[in-house]
Structures are given as structure tokens and as C-alpha cells.
């Protein structure tokens, strides 16, 4: 199908984009990589009056170290996330997750900010942001605010960005010694939406888990933290017994819905299998070493 007619304006700065949004009398959308927006337009699931093309705003690009954070610009393409040496060094969870994100041709245009602003719970990046304890930077005409990833996602495709605001960057805390992270997912085919995905971030002292952050995709309306499973790991040695308890505890964390072709019980089973797989892989990492 073809998109309904809309007007188009390319802007050179965030301020210009926000002004254009405010001046639009109908519905406006920010166009970044367009890899989710254009399908929605072509299917006529969305039919805005104006697209504001933010794809060439220089200030939205770049991956830089800022103190104890890695700042990743909203226009960072998934292909850059996959290959960035800074991301591989400081947030290898994202490097791993990027390999699962759609297909290479989509990764060449799709952006970090676009994926997070869409807040599809089946996407990899939202879960990664929660697991990493990242902060998201949101800019409006009144200034910039920062919000923790745990507070950003509200519901299915809903988040705290207000109309007229734009997600401009994310900031990921640099890993402390003893950090281990891993992303994995189970999908019917490579590049398909995950049946279940898991972003795991652990901090260990010696063999002991100091803290665990587990965030699942595709098992709820938002990327889902698993507090009971995390608590089952905290203070324990990362061994088979602790992993078994974490898997059992998942029943208190997740309640996936039925959908066509997949029962809630089957999805829950896959979530447990995936948790076991990811934690076992993390057990194998040397202390202090991060997943490559």
C-alpha cells in the first residue's frame, strides 16, 4: 500500500525541529531512520500531516565518553551500534543485541533513538537500556530532561516523551570491575521479532553476585525487569543452584499474554530456558571479564 499524502520538511537542528513541530497545525512526526515509521505509513496505520526529517542533525550523532557515562546520540544507526569500538568496550550488551536487530539493510538506516522512542516491547534496545541502567535524554522547547530507563517505558508503544519533545541521546554508565553482560534471544528465524529476549547485566565480587539487572523483551507490554529472579541471584554464588532458583522465581515476574500460535505457558517456558542459557554463559566468563 502507499502512504497517505503528507508534507515534508528537513531540519538542521533540534531547535528547528521542535519549532516545526510546534508550528504544525495538524499531526507531525519526527522522521529519523524511518524503518518503523515508513512501514506504519505505508500500511496506513499512521497518517500524519507533516514529517519533520531529523536525519541530518549533526548534534544527534556521535558516540562519546562523558565522565563515567558513554553518550550515544539518538541518530546512531544500528549498524554503528554493532561495529562501534567504544560500545564494544563499554557496553558490549548493545553490540551483542545489535546482531539480532532486524536485517543488515534495516540496520543501515534504523536508529537508536527511533527504536527507543517507538518503545516496541519486542525490540532489543528498550530491554538493553533497562538492563544497563541507562538514562535517556529528552529535549523540548523548554530544555532538556534526563530520565532513567526504568521510568521511561509506560505501556505498549508508550513512554514518557511528551508531544513536541524529542529523544536526543542515551547515557550508559561505564561498567565497574566485575561486570558481566549478555544478550540473547529466541526467535523463529534470524531477524524476526523475538519470541523472548533477555538483556542481563550482573556485577560480581569474586564468585558472589552483588547486583543483577534482567530485562526481557516480548513478554509484556514494556521491556520487563525481573525483580524476583534478580533477588534470587543477589548475594549468591552464580552457580547451578542459584540459576535454578532464578528460573523458578520468574513465575513471579512475568505473565506473558497468549497470542496466535503461541501460548502463554510456552512463552514462559522459553523465558526460563533463555534465562538459564544466559546465566550459564555468564558463569563461564572469567571474573572481571565482560562478554565479548
Amino acid at each position: 500500500m502507499k502512504a497517505r499524502a503528507f508534507d515534508y520538511r528537513r531540519v538542521a537542528s533540534v531547535a528547528e525541529a521542535l519549532d516545526a513541530y510546534a508550528a504544525c497545525e495538524g499531526e507531525a512526526r519526527f522522521l529519523a531512520g524511518g524503518q518503523s515509521l515508513l512501514p506504519a505509513l505505508n500500511l496506513r496505520l499512521d497518517a500524519p500531516d507533516l514529517l519533520i526529517d531529523i536525519g541530518r542533525i549533526e548534534s544527534l550523532r556521535g558516540i562519546v565518553l562523558e565522565g563515567d557515562r558513554l553518550r550515544i546520540g539518538a541518530l546512531t544507526r544500528h549498524a554503528e551500534t554493532l561495529t562501534s569500538p567504544l560500545i564494544a568496550e563499554h557496553a558490549p550488551l548493545l553490540t551483542q543485541a545489535a546482531a539480532y536487530m532486524a536485517h543488515p539493510a534495516i540496520r543501515n538506516l534504523g536508529t537508536m533513538g527511533g527504536s527507543l522512542a517507538l518503545s516496541d516491547p519486542a525490540s532489543e534496545l528498550p530491554a538493553c537500556m533497562r538492563a544497563l541502567g541507562a538514562e535517556l535524554e529528552i529535549t523540548g522547547r523548554d530544555g532538556t530532561r534526563t530520565i532513567a530507563a526504568d521510568d521511561f517505558f509506560l505501556d505498549l508503544f508508550e513512554n514518557v516523551i511528551e508531544p513536541g519533545e524529542m529523544l536526543t541521546a542515551v547515557r550508559v554508565p561505564l561498567p565497574v570491575p566485575g561486570t558481566r553482560m549478555r544478550f540473547d534471544e529466541i526467535a523463529r528465524r534470524r531477524g524476526d521479532y523475538a519470541l523472548v529476549g533477555l538483556a542481563a547485566h550482573l556485577v560480581l565480587t569474586g564468585p558472589t553476585v552483588e547486583s543483577a539487572r534482567l530485562a526481557f523483551c516480548s513478554v509484556g507490554p514494556t521491556p520487563m525487569r525481573a525483580p524476583a529472579a534478580e533477588a534470587a541471584l543477589a548475594g549468591r554464588s552464580l552457580d547451578a543452584a542459584a540459576i535454578a532458583e532464578a528460573k523458578a522465581a520468574l513465575a513471579d515476574d512475568l505473565a506473558p499474554d497468549e497470542d496466535e500460535g503461541f501460548s502463554a505457558a510456552a512463552r514462559m517456558h522459553l523465558a526460563r530456558v533463555l534465562l538459564g542459557r544466559v546465566l550459564s554463559a555468564l558463569t563461564g566468563q572469567e571474573y572481571g571479564e565482560m562478554a565479548a
Binding site: 497517505r4 499524502a5 515534508y8 528537513r10 524503518q35 536485517h103 543488515p104 534495516i106 538506516l109
Partner: protein, 167 residues
């Protein structure tokens, strides 16, 4: 009233300037405005891969980009990549192994395969069949069952270096 907007792109090496309605996808622009119908349009949602072209040297779905977005960029379609000879080795391998039947998916698959083989050669790795299948995961073929396509790409990936892109 929504006005057509000026778009200047370099398509297969030639500079082209047209006025285009904002809602026109790059795929429709190539096919209808420029008559480059080798770029095929299947699903229009980025699932089937038939419309993949090179944008500034990188494969992208022409159905998931607006023509106005591509202003100032370089686009190489199956026509340009064929005429330049860059695809000759792959095309010969597809022909030899019967890696196409109806041919609808072939332009997109060739663009993706060329990029894949270039990456393989740059990194010095010889891909396994599983890796080749992974690289093709965004391209639907409803005729061949993929075996012959994987065969063809495997034979080229294992052969001498392909001619490099001039740009």
C-alpha cells in the same frame, strides 16, 4: 496543498533532478520517475528485500525511504551495478547454479550478496552456509528454496577477490 519538492540524486553515476511529492518512496521514484524497474516492489514494509538498493554504498530498502530523504545522496540500483560489471561474477554464479526462477527477488538478493561478499573479503573470512543464510535473512525467495542461492554465493565467496567498488 502539498507541493512537490526538488530532489537531486546521483543514480548509477548520473546526476538527476526532479520534483517529487513527499510521500513517494525511493522505490516508486526509481521505478516510475526514472523507469528503473529492476528495483522490485514487494511488501512495502521492509520484509521481503526485493527493493534493496545501495544508498551511499550501503544496502537499504528503497520502500522504507522517501525520495525526498535521499536528496544529495548516491543511489546504485541493479541496473547500474549490472552495467558496471561489479555483479558479473555473482550473476554468472547465479546463472550456473540456477539460483533464480521467477527472478523477482534476484535484484535485491544480488545487492545484498555483493555487500556481504565485500565484507567477507575485507575481513578475510570465508563464510559458512549458516552465515550466508543469516545474511539473506531479509530477502524472501518463493521459488528456489534458497539452496541454489546459497550455493552460488558460497562459490563466489570462496573464489578470488571480486572487483572492488570504484567509489
Amino acid at each position: 496543498m502539498i507541493e512537490p519538492q526538488p530532489v537531486t540524486v546521483t543514480v548509477n553515476g548520473a546526476r538527476v533532478r526532479r520534483f517529487v511529492e513527499p510521500r513517494v518512496s525511493l522505490a516508486d521514484f526509481l521505478r516510475r520517475d526514472l523507469g528503473l524497474t529492476g528495483t522490485h516492489l514487494g511488501c512495502e514494509v521492509g520484509a521481503c528485500g526485493a527493493c534493496i538498493v545501495n544508498l551511499d554504498g550501503q544496502p537499504v530498502h528503497a520502500c522504507l525511504m522517501l525520495a525526498v530523504q535521499a536528496d544529495g545522496m548516491r543511489i546504485d540500483t541493479i541496473e547500474g551495478l549490472s552495467d558496471s560489471g561489479e555483479l558479473a561474477e555473482l550473476q554468472a554464479a547465479f546463472h550456473a547454479r540456477n539460483a533464480l526462477q521467477c527472478g523477482f527477488c534476484t535484484p535485491g538478493i544480488l545487492v545484498v550478496a555483493r555487500d556481504f561478499i565485500r565484507d567477507c573479503r575485507a575481513s578475510g573470512r570465508r563464510p559458512t552456509r549458516a552465515v550466508i543464510r543469516d545474511a539473506l535473512s531479509g530477502n524472501y525467495c518463493r521459488c528456489t528454496g534458497y539452496e541454489a542461492i546459497v550455493d552460488a554465493i558460497e562459490s563466489v565467496a570462496g573464489a578470488a577477490p571480486m572487483r572492488e567498488d570504484a567509489a
